[in-house]
């Protein structure tokens, strides 16, 4: 290497004995740059359009009634999605209760016990599970819970979403734990701390902020899911406080209202979509702020 310091921009300077770049090549070069800029604009356009419409259409329809009342029958104005908002939270709570411990456990297995063939199998299977369409997970939860209980329920919806959370949490937890320096583990062992205690109080503790980020990523991914809830939670127009009865969910309600022919319901669907996104973003932001404020600075 004659001059390792020269960056790529400097290389563009033409030496004297090289013929100048032809017009055709220069035109192609500029055209390609223009095309790339155009593609970026084309991709950003729908993003802005979606957010603009969400805010524009949603804000107009959100009011106190929307957040506190149950849906009104067709033709009656007003009403809201309070039961769906609570239902979504219940379903997501069940999903997190089931999915988070199992996912983190699998992540600990992968990073602390699974640096071998068995770990590779689990790693591959989690990646495979990640690609399973959500509607198929819904069928599985239907067979597992709904068929046994003989009715749709929040539990079935929670199981479906938990199955979707586990692989994501397992893989991100593994990556975060692997980032913890080996020396920290060794220091704990050197003090006579047992292995399980080291894993929980030292390794996992050090990686907490990363692990929680992974959990929130999985949470955000399933929070807006509709397909697996269609035949597990099923939806409900009324309040329901039992985990073994059909339960309303925000995403289901948006779907039902969006494909309905009523203008009043369309408005509610937009409001629901806005609330859904705000809730997802809010939950993720709240947890991240809580983590940052705590004593949980990463390694």
């Amino acid at each position: 290497m004659p001059d390792t310091n020269s960056n790529s921009a400097a290389v563009l300077v033409q030496p004297i004995d090289v013929p100048p770049i032809s017009l055709r090549r220069r035109v192609v070069d500029h055209a390609m740059t223009a095309i790339a800029v155009l593609t970026v604009a084309l991709v950003l356009l729908p993003l802005f359009a979606i957010f603009a419409y969400l805010v524009y259409k949603g804000i107009g329809s959100i009011n106190l009634a929307f957040l506190t009342q149950t849906p009104k029958p067709v033709g009656e104005p007003g009403g809201g999605m309070a039961n769906a908002i609570v239902g979504s939270m219940v379903i997501l709570g069940i999903a997190s209760l089931l999915g988070v411990p199992l996912g983190i456990g699998a992540g600990i297995f992968l990073s602390e016990y699974g640096r071998n063939r068995y770990g590779d199998i689990v790693r591959f299977v989690s990646d495979v599970l990640n690609g399973v369409p959500s509607i198929v997970i819904g069928i599985v939860a239907y067979g597992l819970v709904v068929m046994r209980q003989k009715h749709f329920s929040a539990l079935a919806g929670g199981v479906a979403l938990a199955i979707m959370m586990i692989p994501t949490i397992a893989r991100t937890t593994e990556q975060m734990l692997l980032l913890v320096p080996q020396a920290i583990r060794e220091a704990a062992y050197g003090l006579g701390v047992s292995r399980w205690r080291t894993t929980l109080s030292i390794t996992l503790r050090t990686a907490t902020s990363g692990v929680i980020t992974g959990v929130m990523l999985a949470f955000a991914r399933v929070a807006g899911e509709t397909a697996p809830l269609l035949f597990t939670a099923f939806g409900n127009q009324f309040w329901n406080w039992k985990s073994d009865q059909p339960t309303a969910a925000l995403s289901l309600q948006i779907f039902t209202y969006a494909i309905s022919p009523f203008d009043e319901w369309h408005k509610q669907a937009w409001a629901g979509a806005l609330v859904l996104i705000v809730l997802i973003v809010g939950a993720v932001a709240a947890v991240r702020i809580a983590v940052r404020r705590g004593t949980l600075a990463g390694a």
Partner: protein
């Protein structure tokens, strides 16, 4: 992933030939600060509990396969392979054939790829090779924001914004200019295969472009410098030095996007029109495997009806698994040994 970036966890034991477990026992027993005997039971119990979690992940996959296979036996015995070749779907006469749904899934996904691939590649190339450094983070964050929007919200937007735009402007234009191909003929409803393809494209752009970006960043810098040193323009450098080296990974990213498109349910169900027909025109309504499940599963009264639907689910599961495994392998062949982009 970033596994290779770090040394494998290992104890710095005085006798490395012994397993780490043995070394740990020695450490624990000779530790001066420790009082009393240390029980090995909690350690073993914890280890096995974590292994159980690992096994549970594998068991989950087994459970999914089991549920789908058992659920679809009835339909499999009734129709066999014919199930995938027949186009009659009639719950009244209990005749089920999945061909229109398979057709719809394949056509809508391919259409989505045709639209999404050039756009995603353009974005990825722009972000990694052309854009000013300050803009890079913002742009990649914004494109990934697209991935965070729930599918049902895409569907909502598609019904009320995309479909009218297609109906009023895009479809008449396409019919006028390309109507002779037969792909763009018939009444412009707005709703139909074209709308499904476009909304799918918007949804898979983030995944294709972010993985392509990941693949492009691992192309060694000296490849770029070598091509530039030969007098290439920037585009020639990108074409010869970057894209060519990242080929396999880019194909992998595209296949990963395909896998996502095949299984996508809600947004497609909301705009594809839901009619089990095989039509040549992209303006015509269609139906996909995922949408038929979404629409008819709860209404399936007969055992054979339900079984036929589950068999569609099994087929969808199988296809996405194969597609995803293939894609992972191709991406891995390029990024192997390189730290991947961080999760956070």
């Amino acid at each position: 992933m970033s596994n290779q970036a770090l040394p494998r966890p290992r104890f710095n034991a005085p006798e490395p030939e012994r397993g780490s477990k043995a070394a740990l026992k020695i450490e624990a027993r000779t530790a001066p600060l420790l009082q009393g005997k240390v029980s090995e039971i909690p350690d073993a119990a914890f280890g096995w509990a974590m292994r159980l979690c690992g096994v549970a992940v594998v068991a989950l996959l087994g459970l999914i396969v089991y549920q789908l296979v058992v659920g679809s036996t009835l339909s499999w015995h009734a129709f066999g392979w014919k199930f995938f070749g027949q186009s009659e779907w009639n719950p009244v006469s209990d005749q089920y054939g999945a061909l229109p749904f398979i057709f719809g899934t394949i056509v809508s996904s391919l259409l989505a790829l045709v639209i999404a691939v050039p756009l995603s590649l353009g974005v990825a190339v722009f972000i990694t090779e052309m854009c000013p450094v300050g803009l890079r983070g913002i742009l990649s964050f914004t494109t990934e924001l697209l991935a965070a929007i729930p599918s049902v919200v895409y569907g909502l937007w598609a019904i009320f914004v995309l479909v009218p735009v297609l109906r009023e402007y895009v479809q008449p234009f396409l019919a006028q200019t390309l109507g002779w191909t037969g792909l763009f003929s018939g009444p412009p409803y707005g709703i139909g295969m074209l709308a499904a393809g476009v909304i799918l494209a918007i949804m898979i752009i983030p995944i294709i472009s972010s993985i392509t970006r990941e693949v492009l960043t691992v192309v060694p810098q000296h490849q770029r410098e070598a091509v530039l040193a030969l007098g290439a323009t920037r585009w020639e450098m990108i074409r010869m030095g970057v894209l060519r080296n990242a080929r396999a990974g880019i194909v992998g990213a595209i296949i990963l996007g395909l896998g996502r498109a095949l299984g996508e349910t809600m947004a497609v169900t909301m705009v594809i029109g839901n009619r089990p027909e095989i039509a040549k025109s992209l303006f015509a309504p269609g139906y996909t495997m995922a949408s038929v499940l979404a629409n008819e599963f709860t209404e399936a009264t007969g055992d054979l009806y339900l079984s036929a639907l589950i068999e569609i689910g099994l087929a969808l599961f199988f296809v996405t698994i194969v597609v995803n495994a293939l894609a992972r392998l191709m991406v891995w062949s390029v990024t192997r040994g390189q730290p991947s982009r961080s999760i956070a």
